[in-house]
């Protein structure tokens, strides 16, 4: 018996199959697993910075309280402490704003990688302008922050999607490098210096109090010394965590550079291995900051 020949697929079916094949192939070539992993870790890292700035703001009030207690016999309230810390608080706010822009960019990157629609966040764009007005960054840094903010706030409205992931990484890489470098320097030098000054102020406060009263009241002196040791250990841990977070920001920059270098092969195994290693470094830094702050 002659077997009936299988029916030939229609032209429409053939085109449909070809379309699915091309989509699958394209999707495989631009698999965003590395981008998603990177964006999540980078976002978690930048999410810790406000804890650091909040702690430094509180530290300023504590240090001012030490100073006023040592140099004046007059009563002082919280308003005096706030007034003395206006400059530091303003600088910290600027840092936090710049960091939030960076954080929003990573959220946008993750959305693109996962092909999600996200809400328009006009506030991010305004943040970029606010950072520029604060003038605590140089022109190149301000432009990078503004560009990142514009990208992050336009991710939904401009139709950026997974297919444009590569372009996003390419166009924003330099901005990410500039902002992560700037935040690294601020953490590693300025915030570390502020912490160092707070440590010096605290040491002076406790040491003078002990020198003045340890002979008269040795038991109290023991308790005061214990309190000092506990606070000194806390500040030492915080200083180490700030430097660790500073290094983590450089790691964030290196991770984005790796995405940029491999932007034509975002689904490559080598890139994923690099990003996983990068993410582990970031996770360790975040754990250290979580413990210290």
């Amino acid at each position: 018996m002659r077997r009936r020949a299988a029916p030939r697929p229609s032209q429409r079916v053939r085109i449909h199959c070809l379309t699915i094949f091309v989509i699958a192939l394209t999707s495989g070539c631009t698999s965003p697993a590395a981008v998603t992993r990177y964006a999540k870790s980078a976002a978690l890292t930048t999410a810790r910075l406000p804890d650091v700035t909040d702690a430094l703001s509180q530290s300023c009030r504590r240090t001012t309280s030490y100073r006023l207690r040592r140099t004046s016999s007059e009563w002082f309230g919280d308003d005096s402490l706030r007034a003395a810390c206006v400059g530091r608080d303003a600088a910290l706010r600027t840092v936090t704003r710049a960091n939030r822009v960076l954080s929003s960019y990573f959220a946008a990157l993750e959305s693109l990688a996962e092909n999600k629609l996200t809400d328009y966040d006009a506030k991010v764009d305004a943040l970029g302008d606010a950072v520029g007005e604060a003038a605590d960054f140089d022109k190149k840094q301000v432009k990078a922050i503004e560009d990142l903010a514009k990208f992050a706030s336009s991710r939904a409205t401009d139709g950026y999607r997974r297919s444009r992931l590569r372009d996003a990484i390419a166009t924003q890489n330099e901005n990410v490098q500039v902002v992560t470098d700037a935040l690294h320097d601020i953490l590693d030098r300025d915030l570390a210096q502020l912490l160092e000054n707070d440590v010096a102020a605290q040491t002076s406060f406790y040491r003078a109090a002990l020198a003045e009263s340890s002979d008269r009241d040795p038991l109290t002196a023991i308790l005061v010394r214990d309190a000092y040791d506990a606070r000194a250990a806390e500040l030492a841990e915080r200083s180490a965590a700030v430097r660790s977070l500073a290094q983590a920001l450089l790691t964030v920059g290196r991770g984005h550079q790796a995405l940029f270098d491999a932007r034509d092969h975002l689904g490559g195994k080598a890139l994923l291995a690099t990003i996983v290693s990068n993410a582990r470094e970031l996770d360790a830094a975040v754990a250290r900051v979580n413990k210290a702050f």
Partner: protein
Amino acid sequence: MPSNTTEESRAIAKLYSELASALADYRFGHWTELSKAQRAEIESHEWTLLTYSSNMASRAIRLAGEESGPALAGIVRATKRLTAAVHRVASVKHVFALATSAVALGGAIASGHALAIGEAVSEALSVADG
């Protein structure tokens, strides 16, 4: 890369922190030789210098303007000389002079006036070498 002004501000913040620490070392190292009033006066200068250092680190003090470059170089030189002088100082009178000069220099920096900064730098260098 940060601007030169930013870098110099950071350098000054560090130097003022070191200067405050040098004064604290002197105060505690000569605790029994100093009167209560003398200790209080030195400590007051330490707090002021630490505050200046923190203000600079916070960048609350803006040293804007291209002409501020040479003035900042003078500030760095004068502050280093003051710190070195505190380490080798022999009399408490000289410590007061050094601390007062450092505080005056910090005040001039805070004012942002190039002329005041220049005069304070000259005074600080003179006191440090005196």
